[in-house]
Amino acid sequence: MSIEVSNLTHIYSPGQPEEQIALDGISFTVEDGSFVGIIGHTGSGKSTLVQHLNGILRPTRGKIYVDGEDITQKNVSLTDIRKKVGLVFQYPEYQLFEETVAKDVAFGPKNLGLPEQQIDMRVRNAIELVGLDYEEIKDVSPFELSGGQKRRVAIAGVIAMQPGVLILDEPTAGLDPKSHDDILKMIDEMRASQQMTTILVSHNMDDVAKMADKVLVIDEGRLAMEGTPQEVFSKGEDLTALGLDLPAVTHILMKLKENGIDAGTDTFDVKEAAAAIAAALEGGAEAESSAGQEE
């Protein structure tokens, strides 16, 4: 499912003294089946932006087309939009409320008005998709789970609505490194098996660099940069000026390049980078030794 955003502007409390322009004329497209990363520092408007994509917030100006349909129109059914676009908020475990995991995951599909049998199937699928054992966990209270498990259950609650587009707002915030990696792996696997269009909002440049096909950089409500991770992260200085960082791997490759060892800056994978650096060092050594021989 594709999303097209055109000239999106959102103003908080318009006409009041505390008026604030949160988003200012943002346009971009998300291709069907692609993985888009949205980065920006705290307060840049990332969360406000994604809340527009499933109709939680309405734009002050501008249009949003989901699957070709304009969702900013008054008569559009919000249920329909939420069937298409699933949004997982920051710290989604704080939205859990039911007595059992299965009931909590069923909340979304139930609101869609699906028949009982289909709900059960979706709940089972969703719980298994997020990497939990359905039989083991279905009757457990969500409040008894660990932090990482709670988050998985909360994500399952959105997956169970089977959206064509899945948006995750900082899905790994506040998790330990192991849970962080597990959640990202889960997102990657889910995307591959369900062919979901995925949008990841993140602070973590490494995650975005590794996973996204396309990166949007938001700064003070404007779209500051747009492109493939290679394109965006090659402009290190511009990113630093926006208060953002480079992926760790890119950072090292850039430093090496500055100091005369050019191993390229296209990869974000540690192993690939190591191989490229090794090759560059050997190549450099050969070039040096051959230069020495010629003398």
Binding site: R82, N111, V158
Partner: protein, 266 residues
């Protein structure tokens, strides 16, 4: 919509009223409330309104802002007005079916409406011109003589401070949870009253969980900074009784004297 709630808000201004000792303002408010209940004639209300207007003018809080606070209570005022207007005997002015409006009823209804409006505006002046922290400091200080008989005045004041501090936090939390549940297709705007009440559960349960979590964190943070109750605790900003407070005190005595005279002689 959730941000429109202005009850208990503080309005930052530099004014003689803002500078008063919070204790003076608390006593002033109590005296004022007693006065509003003592008054029995429209002339008396005229006097009270005049005094209130003087305080508002001195405080330099815009009238429009004060009146905005009346909006949520407008329905209650309207309700009491209509309840009163039909409830009294006397000379019939108008008859609509089984309902009769009498001169006595009309008088009482208008009287009650004025009393309610004066009460609300007057007491909101206290919170509009006093920072919550000052307010609780004032309450603590006023209650401290009761410590001897075992009233935990410091703890009561601390509880109030924390409760006030939590209002914006909980509003924000509610907003977040509502959005998250809406993203899962929850609907809070349609259906019967029972349906809507039931739909509140997905908000209330996470809200309680959050409130307990935040409270726990806060208690820990306070203990980590060696908070151990009121015993031996000093303050950064001491509240002081100044010349302005003395003047206000004298004016207050004059004010209540006029109201009592009105009650007795008019």
């Amino acid at each position: 919509m959730i941000r429109d709630i202005t009850i208990g808000q503080y309005y930052q201004r530099e004014s003689p009223i803002h500078r008063l000792d919070p204790r003076t303002k608390i006593i002033m408010t109590i005296v004022y409330i007693v006065a509003v209940f003592l008054v029995k004639s429209f002339a008396g209300f005229g006097f009270v309104t005049l005094c209130l207007a003087a305080v508002i003018a001195l405080s330099r809080v815009p009238l429009s802002f004060i009146l905005r606070g009346l909006k949520p209570i407008f329905l209650i005022i309207l309700f009491t007005f209509f309840l009163n207007i039909f409830m009294y005997g006397g000379t019939v002015l108008l008859k609509i079916g089984p309902l009769t409006i009498t001169d006595e009823g009309l008088r009482t209804a208008v009287f009650m409406a004025i009393r309610l409006i004066l009460l609300i505006i007057g007491s909101s002046m206290l919170t509009l011109t006093t920072r919550p922290i000052q307010l609780t400091d004032g309450i603590e200080s006023l209650l401290s003589p009761l410590k001897r008989v075992g009233v935990p005045s410091h703890e009561l004041a601390m509880m109030m401070t924390i409760a006030l501090r939590f209002i914006p936090t909980l509003l924000e939390e509610t907003d977040k949870i509502m959005k998250a549940q809406q993203a899962r297709g929850a609907d809070f705007e349609s259906g019967s009253i029972f349906r809507r009440a039931k739909n509140m559960i997905p908000i209330l349960v996470p809200l309680f969980v959050s409130a307990f979590r935040i409270a726990q964190d806060m208690a820990l943070a306070m203990e980590a900074r060696c908070y151990h109750g009121g015993e031996g605790r000093t303050r950064m900003n001491k509240i002081k009784f100044g010349a302005g407070d003395a003047v206000m005190g004298l004016l207050m005595i004059g004010f209540i004297a006029v109201v009592v005279l009105e009650r007795v002689y008019l």
